[in-house]
């Protein structure tokens, strides 16, 4: 496992004040928080930032981290020193339910034992904690339904009583017609309870792997459909991909760029199913031969009065 340089993650000096750290964290949170950010890798970045702040933002944990950090550099191979954690007492609330599990193995090795106290607070005989995880599937899995094996990282105690992350494999039936952002509930697959009470449930949030040309909006699918100018002008029947195979689509004559053609019921399955929309895009070929050039010139002659910029000529008084 690598030693993580939390100071570098937050972009602060090792002697930064608690205020500096809070300030740096807030700025990065606004930039990368997955609920507000559209940056690529926002989720991954924020996880690192959140973990760094969880440690450095708390003076007690920061002191413990600094103590270990004197002997390590970021990226260096890290093994927790023997007896780690036994010499420190941490006060106050440590982690919210399920929070610590999202952090890195490095974090777990240093602070994982703190989560145990939080879980231990649950009264004997109480329902186990509900767990959450995110599953990324392909769009076609949502069209057809799929059987997927997913790996979850679950904290478990090792021989020395430290919390380590273990891989756990689950077979999940992805129901046909699942939408992005929806949750699957797997009863009894969450945290164990003591005293014979029922285990918690596991919730899986569904995300779609980005597709090179289909866009998803709820149950509807959008596709930019390139057409030759003559196909758009004269009408055509073209073969169009859907996430579930190809269909024939009739393009009406005199179709303008941007026109949306609806393929009813070809969106995500369901009751009712979504629609698929082909958004027409006119792709004009380059006049790269004499014949092509002549064809464009003939077109220009055929439309002496055509003004493509008519909409720009509304008087701006």
């Amino acid at each position: 496992m690598e030693f993580k340089d939390y100071y570098a993650t937050l972009g602060v000096e090792r002697n930064a004040t608690q205020d500096d750290i809070k300030h740096a964290y807030r700025k990065l949170a606004r930039k990368y928080h997955p609920d507000v950010s559209k940056e690529a890798n926002a989720e991954e970045r924020f996880k690192e930032v959140g973990e760094a702040y969880k440690v450095l933002g708390d003076p007690e944990k920061r002191a413990a981290y600094d103590d270990v950090g004197q002997r390590f550099r970021g990226g260096q191979e890290f093994h927790p020193p023997p007896g780690w954690g036994s010499g420190f007492e941490f006060s106050g609330r440590d982690f919210g339910p399920g929070e610590a599990e999202q952090f890195s193995e490095f974090f777990q090795s240093l602070f994982g034992h703190l989560g145990r106290g939080a879980r231990g607070r649950a009264q004997g005989g109480r329902h186990g904690e509900d767990h959450h995880a995110r599953v990324v599937i392909d769009l076609v899995d949502a069209y057809r339904g799929a059987q997927r094996t997913i790996s979850l990282r679950v904290p478990a105690l090792d021989a020395e009583g430290h919390i380590v992350l273990q891989e756990r494999q689950l077979d999940v039936a992805i129901p046909k017609g699942i939408r992005e952002g929806q949750h699957l509930r797997l009863a009894g697959q969450g945290g164990a309870a003591d005293g014979g009470a029922p285990a918690g449930d596991l919730y899986l949030e569904i995300a779609f792997r980005p597709h090179p040309y289909f866009r998803v909006d709820g149950a509807d699918i959008y596709l930019d459909l390139p057409l030759a100018p003559w196909e758009a002008a004269l009408g055509a029947t073209v073969t169009v991909p859907t996430p579930d195979g190809h269909v024939q689509l009739t393009v009406p004559t005199a179709s303008a760029s941007g026109r949306r053609l609806r393929l009813r019921g070809k969106g995500l399955p369901g009751n009712p199913p979504g629609n698929m929309y082909a958004v027409l895009r006119i792709a004009a070929p380059a006049p790269d031969t004499a014949a092509a050039k002549e064809a464009y010139e003939a077109l220009a002659r055929a439309y002496p009065n055509f003004n493509p910029r008519q909409t720009l000529e509304r008087t701006s008084q």
Binding site: R26, A29, R168, Q182
Partner: protein
């Protein structure tokens, strides 16, 4: 690890599940008091006349979790989170319109 037959027990929360106050608190990792504040702030809109007979529709789980995440990660109070979620909803609605117009 015991692997139960999942196809039998796997349900789509948004379509097949509704929650009582306690069930939503358990599923979202919130305290019941936090859920009550989210209802008062209009983030969650259960049916039923009072906390004892509130029923939350499936999509409430996602909203409750988002609210708690924002409160924790931005160190905000729930009224501030409610405002933030209103604005995020509005941005999302505008993004949907852009997507539908083929502008994104």
């Amino acid at each position: 690890m015991n692997q139960a037959p999942f196809s039998a027990t796997c349900v789509v929360v948004e379509e097949e599940v509704s929650f009582s106050l306690e069930q939503l608190a358990q599923a979202s990792g919130a305290d019941a008091e936090q859920v009550i504040v989210l209802v008062q702030e209009g983030v969650l809109t259960p049916s039923g006349s009072g906390p004892q007979d509130w029923q939350f529709q499936g999509p409430s789980l996602r909203r409750a979790r988002q609210a708690l995440r924002l409160a924790r990660d931005f160190e905000l109070g729930l009224p501030g989170v409610a405002l933030m979620m209103d604005l995020l909803d509005e941005i999302e609605a505008l993004r949907v319109r852009l997507r539908q117009a083929g502008l994104r």
